[in-house]
């Protein structure tokens, strides 16, 4: 016999689908089946199934002089981490995007005590969006407003068909909502991208912009919306196409722009987001308009939230002064800190420096004392001095996470953690206790 856990929140992407049904064995130790999730989400759950044949690392490992790994106890790993934090002049503590807000709160307590840098995945992702919002604000809405009201949708530089697979069916293109009873038929979809993506295939209008001409094209949108003339081609897009798109948007009752890395990491970066937001502001003079960032990791938004309510900044937080927090992206951002070899220790938690950072940055990380706290083996665990595996939040541990529209969701525990494995929260609490002992004010 088996039992089904319903209303499970999927800990994969910022869409945070919360209608997943997981079939587990009666003893609550193994996953048998996963329903409703997308291909990626299913993999996240089923990977833990014993039938999947996936080998988990269940105890901390320490790298030996010959490069091999040797199993150590949690106590030894905690000792190593606490000593490293106490000794280092400036530790970089990066990641956080795949753990719970509860764990972050404990982690920040440790970071404040030790005086480290604290940064999350926004630093290589939507950090530019955060900078733009700090300049011009953001008129936004929850995804349910999109579902119930929106009749004009723009996907700009994002590809939910691959990155947020259920976004289109749950929120943006297909669902029938309260005022959107016709579903897909009642919506006009515009996709702006430099490539013809699978999302573009679902759009009524595909606008192929020359690579890194997003700013110019958005400027043209604003200019046309305000009733001025534009050149015949902007960013490779013919004038008629731009004029028609803006007319379509103005005719709508409720429009939304979803944007992704294609806007935040092409030339112009935060300036692209800035002008997209200003276009949204302008459009509110004609109709109702919102803009939503397609946040990637399932709880990267949550990391920004917890850092903000504790220190007032969403990422790139410098706690090394011990009396107050500093924030200066470019100066206190992870990649820059590593590239300038400014940090002398590194903890990577619930994320993957090895997979996401430029090689110079990763190389410095591999050369300094480092700890990786992650349930799985990933590129960072393989270059860290110590790998501390933990239970998987959202599958083996419950906890709070924030959706891309900042709606908090309670992730569920589906199965028991493997025997003797610590959760992020427990591990960090124990590091805190040990650190206080070492620093002499327990």
């Amino acid at each position: 016999m088996a039992k089904v856990v319903t209303d499970v929140v999927c800990p994969f992407c910022g869409t945070l689908c919360d209608d997943i049904a997981i079939t587990v064995t009666d003893d609550g130790k193994d996953i048998i089946d996963c329903q409703n999730a997308c291909a990626i989400g299913s993999e996240k759950f089923l990977k833990l199934s014993s039938s999947h044949g996936h080998e988990r690392v269940t105890r901390p490992r320490k790298r030996q002089p010959d490069g091999s790994y040797k199993e150590i106890t949690y106590d030894e790993a905690i000792e190593y981490t606490a000593q490293m934090l106490a000794k280092a002049k400036k530790t970089l503590w990066y990641g956080w995007a795949s753990t719970s807000c509860e764990a972050m709160a404990v982690g920040h307590k440790v970071a404040e005590k030790a005086g480290t840098m604290v940064d999350n995945c926004a630093t290589v992702c939507h950090g530019s969006s955060l900078l733009a919002i700090q300049d011009v604000g953001v008129p936004s809405c929850t995804l349910g407003e999109v579902k119930n009201r929106a009749d004009r949708i723009i996907f700009w530089g994002c590809n939910p068909a691959h990155a947020h697979p259920r976004h289109m069916s749950r929120y943006s293109i297909f669902p029938r909502g309260f005022f959107t009873t016709k579903g897909h038929k009642g919506r006009k979809i515009i996709c702006v991208d430099c490539r013809y993506t699978d999302t573009a295939k679902c759009a009524d209008e595909f606008i192929q912009v020359d690579q890194s001409y997003d700013y110019e094209l958005l400027d043209a949108f604003r200019t046309v919306a305000r009733g001025h003339d534009i050149p015949d081609f902007v960013g490779g897009v013919p004038k008629e196409k731009i004029v028609k798109a803006v007319e379509t948007l103005k005719e709508g009752r409720f429009g939304v722009i979803f944007f992704g890395m294609g806007m935040t990491h092409t030339l112009g970066r935060n300036h692209n987001v800035d002008i997209a937001i200003n276009f949204t502001r302008d459009m509110n003079d004609y109709t109702k308009f919102s803009i939503v960032a397609m946040r990637g990791h399932w709880n990267v938004t949550g990391s920004g939230q917890v850092l903000s309510w504790q220190y007032g900044f969403p990422y790139c937080v410098d706690l090394t002064r011990r009396t107050h927090a500093r924030y200066q992206p470019g100066d206190t951002s992870s990649v820059d800190l590593l590239r300038r070899k400014e940090v002398d220790a590194c903890i990577c938690i619930a994320s993957d420096i090895g997979a996401h950072f430029p090689i110079e940055a990763t190389r410095h990380m591999a050369q300094i004392p480092s700890v990786c706290i992650d349930p799985h083996i990933n590129l960072t665990t393989e270059i860290s001095d110590v790998h501390i595996p933990v239970a998987l939040v959202g599958v083996e541990v419950e906890g709070c996470a924030y959706r891309m529209d900042n709606v908090p969701m309670r992730c569920r525990k589906v199965i028991d953690p493997l025997e003797g494995m610590l959760t992020d929260e427990e591990l960090l609490e124990r590091i805190y206790v040990r650190l206080c002992e070492i620093m002499g004010d327990a």
């Binding site: 209303d7 929140v9 919360d18 209608d19 709160a105 307590k109 404040e112 955060l130 919002i133 700090q134 011009v136 604000g137 953001v138 008129p139 936004s140 809405c141 929850t142 995804l143 349910g144 407003e145 579902k147 119930n148 009201r149 749950r170 929120y171 029938r176 909502g177 309260f178 005022f179 009752r253 409720f254 502001r281 509110n284 109709t287 109702k288 919102s290 920004g304 939230q305 917890v306 850092l307 903000s308 309510w309 504790q310 220190y311 007032g312 900044f313 969403p314 706690l319 011990r322 009396t323 107050h324 927090a325 924030y327 709070c400 924030y402 900042n406 709606v407 908090p408 969701m409 309670r410």
Partner: protein, 572 residues
């Protein structure tokens, strides 16, 4: 638990009826008691003022829009005095931010001022978990949160049918789901209209699609509130906030409450709490002839015991406005052209955030400053008058002591009035110069302690020093016999309590945090007969219109590890 004896202080407490006389206060096991044993620690309060711990009835201190304000305004941390020698870290955690302080600074600053309870003024139900996560992380002070109801689809649909029992069943369910304290109404109908870029400016404007008016929503929710017998009344931010000439809308809104009687077992007498009344007491037809209408408003308030209000005093600072009144924030950003955030929340509400500079050089800002003070000075009943800054909308809560100073010393008001760039024009547009009243320490203890406690239905346990009440005691370095000659001392003294006792323990001494005991989260479990129809409607709306499932909507108990749950029974 420890015992304390506070000796020889000048006690100001309306509950035990002491007006500055010397009286000893004994504390044991977290309560005020008759006497304590000889083991009790004695605190010498000779030449000092003793009051109950203060309560803030309306502040935005936790939740999505507060946090949005924090992170989208790094400048709120950079260019402020705190970074130039003020408090950064004094207790266990770093303190950051000025107009929208971090949770740590929020808890510590309130405690240093002698506050022990704060009501988070607007909780979007869908974001309730976020509000409670922040409340959980805010040290020391007890907190509660008011969920917003005034633009909720369920409420509008039930009230269109004039069905109070269903509205009550839904309200009861939602308060339980969100661990909420009472019924908050923000720009009734207007924020829903903002879903389409529209607004409701008067109480009879129709809400698009829902075929109901702000007046229907307000009256219906007052009836619901009294049907449920909640400790607090409907807490309303009326339509047309901040508009010149909005006082008729405010009067119309207050008239909706006449004829209703408070039905509750908590000693609350009002049926409508008018919040940040300053923003709703304007005359004129535009910014040119903008003027105070505080006299009209207060004439009405003074005659109507069913109304309580808080002031919403402008403090002349750079601050961050944030409200569930989405259309207002859009309007404000069109006025000051600063950055604008908006968050519309499915089926429930919306919100906006815009930075704002209340400059003494700008005529309307100076008028707003005067209006807020006029309201408190014109108020005849201090037990229905509460001092707030609608933190952070009219100014940060850390400026309360400055507001106290203005209220207590006419000469400081005159000095400020004379210092305005347009002082003559401001004086003509306001009546502040005519008001000689100076608020006494006893009146202050009512406006900041007993009045909010009573209005929130907490009068039997908070806001007073009678035997049996919670041992929340603030001691200030003021000798009532020798009031400070320099009014600025008032500000320093009220910013730095000599002592603050919370739950019978010392948390502040000489303006410093000395301990950080567990805080409580208050919420109300309003029991009412279940309605099968409402249960079905809730299920239906979650299946079809929400983007979270019903099972994932509730705020779990773990978010409020030290709850104080008030149970009520419906007046069926």
């Amino acid at each position: 638990m420890s015992e304390f004896l506070i000796k020889n202080g000048h006690v100001f407490d309306v509950v035990s009826g002491v007006k500055g006389d010397k009286k000893d206060i004994a504390i044991k096991d977290g309560k005020i008691v008759d006497k304590v044993s000889s083991k009790a620690k004695t605190i010498d309060a000779t030449g000092k003022t003793v009051m109950a711990g203060a309560l803030d009835i309306h502040a935005h201190v936790a939740g999505p829009k507060v946090n949005l304000g924090r992170w989208f305004r790094p400048e709120d941390k950079w260019f402020r005095g705190e970074m130039r020698g003020g408090i950064r870290k004094q207790a266990s955690r770093m303190e950051q931010g000025f107009s929208i302080p971090s949770v740590f600074r929020t808890g510590y600053s309130y405690a240093r001022m002698g506050y022990t309870f704060v009501m988070e003024a607007a909780m979007p139900p869908l974001y309730a978990r976020h509000v409670h996560e922040e409340i959980h992380d805010t040290p020391i002070i007890d907190e509660a949160a008011l969920p917003v109801f005034g633009n909720n689809w369920f409420v509008m649909e039930y009230l269109k049918e004039k069905d109070i029992e269903k509205t009550a069943a839904y309200t009861s369910w939602l308060m339980k789901m969100t661990k909420g304290y009472g019924i908050k109404v923000v720009n009734p109908g207007g924020t829903e209209a903002w879903g389409w870029g529209l607004n409701c400016l008067g109480i009879n404007d129709e809400v698009p699609y829902f075929d109901i008016t702000p007046a229907d929503i307000t009256k219906g929710l007052i009836e619901t509130n009294e049907f449920l017998g909640l400790p607090h009344s409907v807490h309303i931010h009326p339509n047309s906030l901040g508009d010149p000439g909005n006082s008729p809308v405010t009067l119309d809104t207050m008239k909706l409450a006449s004829g209703y009687k408070a039905k509750n077992k908590f000693g609350r007498e009002q049926v409508l709490h008018m919040t940040h009344l300053q923003f709703h007491s304007y005359g004129g037809s535009g910014w040119g002839d903008f003027c105070s209408a505080s006299r009209d408003i207060m004439d009405y308030v003074n005659k109507h015991p069913e109304i309580t209000f808080d002031t919403g005093n402008v403090t002349l600072d750079e601050t961050t406005t944030m409200t569930a009144d989405g259309p207002f924030e859009h309007h404000l950003c069109a006025l000051n052209h600063l950055k604008w955030c908006n968050v519309d929340v499915e089926l429930e509400t919306g919100s906006g955030v815009v930075p704002f500079i209340y400059s003494p050089n700008v005529f309307p800002c100076a008028v707003q400053w005067a209006v807020g003070l006029e309201l408190a000075l014109l108020a005849k009943d201090p037990m229905r008058t509460m001092i707030t800054t609608d933190h952070p909308n009219a100014g940060p809560f850390t400026r309360y002591p400055r507001v106290f100073k203005w209220l207590m010393y006419k000469k400081t008001r005159d000095e400020q009035m004379a210092a305005f760039k347009n002082s003559g024009k401001v004086a003509d547009a306001t009546i502040l110069n005519e008001l000689d009243r100076e608020i006494t320490l006893y009146e202050l203890s009512q406006m900041t302690r007993a009045a909010p406690a009573k209005a929130l239905g907490l009068g039997s346990m908070c806001g007073g020093l009678a035997v049996g009440m919670n041992a929340e005691v603030a001691i200030y370095n003021i000798d009532p016999a020798k009031m400070p000659t320099n009014p600025d001392d008032i500000e320093t003294i009220f910013s730095n309590a000599a002592y603050l006792f919370k739950d019978g323990e010392i948390v502040v001494q000489d303006g410093q945090i000395v301990s950080e005991p567990a805080k409580k989260t208050f919420w109300v479990d309003a029991k009412t007969p279940e309605s099968k129809q409402v249960t079905r409607d809730v299920r239906e709306k979650f299946l079809r219109y929400y983007t979270v499932t019903q099972a994932n909507y509730e705020v779990p108990d773990s978010y409020a590890p030290h709850p104080y749950v008030i149970e009520t029974t419906a007046n069926v």
